[in-house]
């Protein structure tokens, strides 16, 4: 997993609630057996005027000029701001892969869907939940200010605005620890192999039908 400490970056405002994983990365791109290359199809149906299929050269496609990520002022954004229930829908990890591959490091929204939220941590993409009023305020500030940037610090669990306003965010201690250290969770779990085996033995005795 990628380590994450802090990020100081341009913010792109996606003013929508319930952004679902089908919108983040449409299913035709899920046919890939690779883990990379999804960034060019992030928000494909909103981002391009033509219909995208795997294998198309995205430089030859027609971008939708009205879509936020196609506006020059948000080009190179590393932080995405959205409304409530971001990432609802499927469990596809392709959604966080696409966001990260595009260049986002942080997603800020009032709330996230559980599986999406969880998946982000597995790859070192940081989802931050701030209360709805704060998010609303950030939307207004971004609109009013060209080149609006936020500073995110994971160690302090803070988001700082250009004017110096600071917002704290919550994160589980275990997740924070894993992100800061870029831990390989599988390796970590396998260090407990003896515990898993001991559990398995006891469990097999109690519910032998599960092991036939």
């Amino acid at each position: 997993m990628k380590k994450f400490f802090s990020c100081e970056g341009l913010v792109a405002p996606l003013d929508r609630a319930n952004v679902d994983t089908d919108a983040i990365i449409p299913k035709q791109f899920l046919k890939s057996i690779k883990r990379s290359g999804f960034g060019q199809n992030l928000f494909d149906e909103w981002r391009y005027l033509d219909h995208g299929e795997p294998g198309m050269d995205s430089s030859q496609r027609k971008p939708n000029p009205d879509f936020i990520l196609n506006m020059p002022r948000y080009s190179g954004a590393e932080i995405l701001l959205a409304r409530a229930n971001f990432g609802c829908g499927s469990s596809r990890e392709h959604a966080p892969w696409a966001l990260q591959d595009y260049g986002f490091q942080v997603i800020i929204a009032p709330s996230f869907a559980d599986i999406f939220f969880n998946n982000c941590f597995k790859i070192g993409l940081l989802p931050i939940a701030l209360d709805a009023d704060t998010v609303d305020q950030l939307f207004h500030e971004i609109e009013a200010t060209q080149g609006y940037r936020l500073a995110v610090n994971l160690r302090d669990q803070s988001v700082t605005t250009p004017s110096g306003k600071l917002f704290q965010f919550d994160i589980d201690s275990f997740r924070k620890h894993s992100l800061l250290n870029g831990l390989d969770e599988i390796g970590l779990t396998l260090q407990h192999s003896d515990k898993i085996r001991a559990f398995e033995e006891k469990y097999r005795a109690a519910q032998p039908w599960l092991f036939t």
């Binding site: 409530a84 599986i115 998946n119």
Partner: protein, 472 residues
């Protein structure tokens, strides 16, 4: 006093994580009993496993099937889309290499992963069941803890048989009383999503309870738990009772003899204790639930068959109004249009929500002796598995559908998410028994209205949405 969720959780905790100060935040290593695998979310996990030189911890816990990409016609020629074909072949290869049980495309047991698990008895009460698919919540109908995971977690479970996860809060959704004639589990599910919203269950594991739930068949319970995720809850579950046990008896993966007796004695304990505490309780009266139809691009955008498309100008909340306007524009609907005036172009009966035998019977009952209306361009039935299809054919349901002008297809996810050739054209409107009406879900620009199988069948016959209670 424990909830069902407490019991399922506790019986699978290998150990609890703590930080360097020894503080616990509720993250635990949870043992996984059943790992269901399909072609879309597994290739990168198998690749990661191999790159790290690891092997599956317990390959017998894994059951694999290709369902998302498979064609629903002309299977004898294989898969024509080369990219889909590679994905399905990759699953075949991985399973062969690692000696994992897989039902291949032309095996009669092949079907949608959430249909075949229960059908085979591979889903059993008391289990933890995971799959790289959000509708894994379906299996909670059997008194299991079942939830969807991402690909990194698929790899984690393959390698360690465990998952690092945090306990959720507990919600109980109680549906008391008797459902009206023609009202089904799907209508309960949609009514619940409409009531609590698509984020209402976020952070919760939901237990469905009450007399209306106990009265449901296993098929109905699966439909309901399937859609728990549409209310934001990763897991939905229902206590074990005789209905559960009778459904499992005699299935291929179910225990037999002494083990069966031992198992059912344990399974009967899988219910919430009297007086167990839930963090949130929601109550619905079954008698008040009417047939539901979604009008928008999120499952919470739902109303009843006698309702109207809502009017955004009456909504005060700006974000909500904006969302509603956007949805109506996408759906090509004017505010205040009666739902019964909406005319679908296509009908889709299928998906892990509603493709089981009971669903097909309910739809067949409506179309028997009738024909699809002239404005319906395509009506299709996609059974959830080869075995469901076989059963339906034995009952003559295929004839009823074919005579009525429906197409009778091979099992798979099909137009639920349109990863194969079954999809809507831009602007086309569909009455669908699936679970998601997101933009583009059934094909780019496609417009989805979620309904029960009986309601989809009724719309096919009438050419517009119609109250199924007035048909039969």
């Amino acid at each position: 006093m424990q909830t069902l969720y407490d019991k399922l959780w506790q019986s699978h905790v290998v150990y609890e994580e703590s930080d360097n100060q020894g503080k616990q935040d509720g993250t635990a290593l949870l043992y996984i009993d059943r790992h269901l695998v399909h072609e879309v979310t597994s290739p990168q996990a198998f690749e990661g496993l191999k790159l790290a030189g690891r092997r599956p911890w317990r390959r017998n816990s894994i059951l694999a099937v290709a369902d998302h990409n498979v064609p629903t016609t002309g299977r004898s020629h294989g898969i024509s889309d080369p990219i889909s074909r590679v994905q399905v072949e990759t699953l075949d290869q991985n399973c062969e290499e690692l000696d994992i049980t897989e039902f291949r495309m032309n095996d009669i047991r092949q079907g949608i992963v959430h249909v075949i698990g229960p059908e085979q008895g591979a889903t059993l009460p008391g289990m933890t069941v995971v799959c790289g698919d959000s509708h894994t919540s379906t299996h909670g109908a059997f008194g299991c803890l079942a939830f969807g995971i991402g690909t990194s977690e698929v790899e984690h479970v393959l390698a360690t048989q465990c998952l690092l996860t945090k306990k959720a809060k507990a919600m109980q959704i109680v549906v008391e009383g008797e459902l009206g004639h023609g009202v089904t589990a799907k209508d309960i599910a949609l009514a619940i999503v409409g009531e609590i919203g698509t984020a209402g269950g976020t952070g919760y594991a939901v237990e469905f309870a009450g007399s209306a739930i106990r009265a449901l068949s296993m098929e109905g319970r699966m439909t309901l738990c399937n859609m728990a995720i549409e209310a934001g809850a990763r897991a939905g579950m229902i206590a074990v009772d005789d209905t559960t046990i009778e459904y499992i008896r005699g299935r291929p993966f179910a225990p037999v003899g002494d083990l069966w007796e031992k198992a059912i004695a344990y399974w009967r304990t899988l219910k919430s204790d009297e007086g167990a505490r839930f963090d949130r309780v929601v109550t619905l009266a079954a008698a008040q639930i009417k047939p539901q139809v979604t009008w928008g691009t999120s499952p919470e955008m739902v109303t009843t068959i006698d309702g109207k498309v809502p009017d955004p100008s009456r909504i005060d909340d700006i974000v909500k109004r904006h969302d509603m306007e956007h949805a109506l524009k996408y759906m090509g609907l004017a505010p205040n249009t009666p739902i019964s005036e909406i005319r679908p172009d296509k009908i889709f009966i299928g998906s892990c929500t509603n493709s089981r035998i009971e669903d097909l019977r309910a739809a067949a009952k409506v179309v028997r002796g009738r024909h699809i209306a002239a404005n319906i361009k395509l009506a299709m039935v996609v059974p959830g598995s080869g075995l469901v299809k076989q059963q339906a054919e034995q009952e003559g349901l295929d004839k009823i559908f074919l005579d009525a002008g429906f197409e009778w297809r091979e099992p798979g996810c099909s137009m639920c998410l349109a990863m194969n050739d079954d999809r809507l054209a831009p602007g086309e409107r569909c009455a669908s028994t699936s679970n998601r009406n997101f933009e583009g879900r059934q094909g780019p620009g496609g417009r989805t209205h979620l309904v029960s199988p009986a309601m989809a069948a009724a719309a096919a016959v009438a050419g517009h949405f119609v109250d199924v209670r007035e048909i039969n």
